[in-house]
């Protein structure tokens, strides 16, 4: 199976999630070996996901936990009457 670039793009997300079946996976990998454009798109998408999963990208505000539990306590007290 020979894939064109635009077809490879459709499978980038499934490729990263390891959801391609064996035949399609082989075809995508074959294309990636010889296509710098698609390889770069794959790398950039993967790196964005690495950045997304980094805990430092989304940080908790200082004191968040303390304020959360204080409000929770007040709410629970008033709910229990």
């Amino acid at each position: 199976m020979n894939l064109e670039c635009k077809h490879v793009w459709e499978h980038i997300s499934s490729y990263l999630d390891k959801q391609l079946d064996a035949e399609l996976l082989a075809a995508v990998e074959k294309h990636l070996e010889s296509c710098e454009v698609c390889s770069a798109i794959l790398d950039s998408t993967r790196n964005i996901l690495v950045l997304t999963a980094d805990d430092r990208t989304y940080e908790l505000p200082l004191g968040y936990s303390v304020r959360l539990h204080a409000r929770l306590e007040a709410a629970m007290r008033s709910l229990s009457g």
Binding site: K6, W9, E10, I12, S13, S14, L16, Q19, E36, V37, S39, A40, I41, D43, S44, T45, N47, I48, L49, V50, L51, T52, A53, D54, R56, T57, Y58, L60, P61, Y64, S65, R67, L68, H69, R71, L72, E73, A75, M76, L79, S80
Partner: protein, 206 residues
């Protein structure tokens, strides 16, 4: 522990939710991109979860159940804050339409490690996520930020797993397109090059 909270040991609820504090806050923040709103929303979501704890049946994981509550809280706040102009961004999109091509790179291979460390880049990512149309953003937040699996995401959003997959792919391709020019030093987010939000998405979906 849930049974004990329901039986009256309400102070245990603090311990029950402690492992999920981050999950709830980040879910709401990634949707709203406003710290104050997200913190208030996270508090409301946790109170709402306490109030509705008896309706938790244990069919889903507790974390997925909490995320569903957090997502509903975020949606409620988003609806409140949304302008008519922003609403129009979401309307014309259908699952079967739209050109979701990534940005094609010719002179760039990989984000250098030091670039990934830059605070500025993290801020650009948060901005880009906030720019995604709501239905794509929701799936991206649950799958790639919260790292829920496909089934958990589908359950939290009340959609099927095929739709989760389609929306996730499109969200990732949109982010790739939004972020790559910035990574190559051509900053689409500031200065002369900043596209109007409506304009950008109109171009994207043509």
């Amino acid at each position: 522990m849930i049974a004990r909270v329901l039986a009256g040991e309400r102070e245990l609820y603090h311990e029950l939710i402690r492992p999920y504090e981050r999950l709830v806050y980040v879910t709401i923040f990634a949707i709203l991109k406003n710290e104050t709103e997200a913190e208030d929303g996270a508090q409301e979501a946790m109170i709402s979860a306490f109030r509705n704890l008896k309706s938790f049946r244990g069919e889903a994981k507790f974390s997925t159940w909490l995320v569903t509550i957090a997502m509903n809280e975020a949606r409620k706040r988003l609806r409140r804050a949304k302008t008519a102009a922003e609403n129009s961004l979401n309307e014309p999109l259908e699952e079967s339409e739209g050109d979701f091509t990534p940005a094609v790179l010719t002179d760039w291979r990989e984000i250098p490690l030091e670039a990934l460390e830059r605070k500025e880049l993290k801020e650009k990512l948060r901005e880009a996520v906030a720019l995604l149309p709501e239905k794509y953003r929701e799936v991206f937040v649950l799958r790639d930020i919260e790292e829920l699996n496909q089934e958990e995401t589908a359950s939290a959003l009340g959609i099927n797993t095929t739709l989760v997959k389609v929306r996730l792919h499109r969200a990732r391709m949109m982010l790739q397109k939004l972020l790559v020019p910035y990574l190559r030093g051509q900053g689409p987010f500031h200065g002369q090059g900043k596209p109007a939000r409506g304009g950008f998405f109109r171009r994207w979906f043509q």
